[in-house]
Amino acid sequence: MSAKVNNNRIVFSLKVAIHVISLFLLSNLYFQAVSDNLGADPVEAVLHFTGIGAFNLLILSLIISPLAQHFKWAFLLKIRRLLGLYSFTYALCHLLSFLAFEVQFDWSLFISEIIERPYITVGMLAVVILLLLTITSLSLIKKKMGRNWQQLHNWVYLALCLVALHFYWSVKSEIIEPSIYIAISLLLIYLRKNKITRWFK
């Protein structure tokens, strides 16, 4: 009995921590940016922070399964969805901040940048995938989708690759940090290689 209660407590505390940290960082970011306390160019700071934040959260959500498997911590799987949802939240803030503060609601520029700039195109595709995963994360929809649900949610690995590419293509010359992120992404995919090879059989 006690082990299960314990695990529930851990899950509860982890969830509280994820909520508090993610929301605090995000609201503090916008508060500081609005009051011009984020360096000379708050727009750049907001875009960078929400982008990296979304990537970090996506990586965290995908490291859960290998960890749970390796250490036999099945309870960890209960926080995976929350991390995924916050990854989408940050990615959405990233996209909306680009629209509102970078191109400043110049819709034709917004749309032409999405179409013409490959790094923005792949970033946009990743957001669309994360959006689909977010909508279908509701338990009710999940049940209705049956086997299709898992198939759709396997697309998260495609999103991961697109995000890594988006970051790599967006920098001018400083490729070391994005390269580290690409290595982490490949490692995550490698850790799930058995699962992934099964899709192609």
């Binding site: 960082l25 609005v34 984020l38 708050p42 750049e44 400083e174 580290i180």
Partner: protein
């Protein structure tokens, strides 16, 4: 921690101006840190760790008052000094915009030597003091348009590059002018580490055609906002070519060489498809990865500042410089 830093700075002798700038800057820096998780680079960066843990006293870079008569002004609103000195692309001191102000504080500019050589009859060497005395100084307010599609308006102090070149008496073979930044990996962490320096090869090189160099707008700057240049802005002497993207305006120059052939330039070597030799501000020719049709003008104001404006051909200096390129296809010669 903020208290700590204030104490650190108040123990040094500074003008009121500098104290305000630095503390405003450091407060912002602090906020950025409090935001917590940055990227993987922050986990790796040993200089970032030093921020957190080291108790070393850092003597901040000092600037002196500099007087100059204003000769060129504009209706544009000036970018506040605190932003001009804390938002810098100077990869020798790190690739983030706020790295240079942090990493360049101990940069030594005196003694300094700037040589003018190559296809000239009278090579010149300017020492540190000469930089401020050899030519009458002017204050000129110029727009600065970065290739990354943001811009500033900066009151520079300096003298026309043409004055210096004329003094060296270029010969008939002098068709181009090459510029070189100081190479000193001990002082410039970006030059000793590819990670900090953004993977570009140093020393940083730039170049102009001779007629561009002799154009009256082309300025060698030794100061801004009424003072000598802060280290992070390219002390003690830098180029300012207001109708070209900012990367042409090379910082902390040690050598100017008149040449017969077009000299290699740093960003062009790194990515020739993205950065040309000419790099004239041109809203018609996009960077392959983003539009150059408009820009965000950095002034005061936070996230909600509506600061996106149209980019002008030659950054609005067409009247003065368009004739330099009249028979050229500027789509090819970007």
């Amino acid at each position: 921690m903020i208290k700590n830093i204030t104490r650190k700075f108040s123990s040094c002798q500074l003008t009121e101006n500098q104290v305000t700038d630095e503390t405003v800057y450091l407060k912002r820096r602090q906020v950025l840190k409090q935001l917590g998780f940055a990227g993987a680079s922050a986990l790796l960066a040993n200089n970032a760790q030093a921020d957190w843990f080291s108790k070393e006293e850092v003597t901040p870079f000092t600037t002196q008052l500099l007087s100059a008569k204003n000769t060129i002004t504009t209706d544009d609103i000036l970018t506040p000094e605190a932003k001009v000195i804390s938002h810098n692309n100077f990869y020798e001191f790190g690739t983030s915009k706020n790295d240079p102000i942090e990493n360049a504080q101990q940069f030594k500019v005196n003694p300094w030597q700037l040589t003018i050589s190559g296809e000239v009859d009278k090579p010149i060497t300017l020492d540190y003091d000469d930089l401020y005395k050899a030519f009458p100084l002017e204050e000129r307010i110029y727009r600065l348009r970065c290739v990354e599609a943001w811009s500033m308006v900066v009151p520079w102090i300096g003298f026309p590059l043409a004055d210096l070149i004329k003094k060296a008496q270029p010969n008939s073979k002098a068709k181009y002018v090459a510029f070189e930044t100081l190479y000193d990996p001990e002082q410039m962490p970006g030059q000793s580490s590819r990670r900090i320096g953004g993977g570009i090869d140093y020393p940083y090189l730039e170049g102009l055609r001779i007629d561009e160099a002799m154009n009256p707008l082309t300025l060698l700057s030794v100061g801004l906002y009424g003072k000598t240049l802060p280290a992070q802005n390219g002390a003690p002497i830098r180029l300012v070519v207001p109708w070209k993207y900012g990367f042409k305006s090379i910082k902390s120059i040690v050598a100017i060489k008149l040449m017969e052939k077009m000299p290699p330039t740093t960003w062009n070597i790194l990515a020739p498809r993205e950065y040309g030799f000419y790099a004239n501000v041109n809203p018609q020719v996009d960077h392959p990865r983003w539009s150059q049709a408009s820009e965000r003008r950095i002034t005061s104001g936070g996230l909600f500042a509506r600061n996106r404006i149209e980019t002008l051909p030659f950054n609005g200096y067409g009247e003065e410089v368009a004739h330099l390129y009249k028979n050229m296809d500027l789509r090819k010669n970007y």
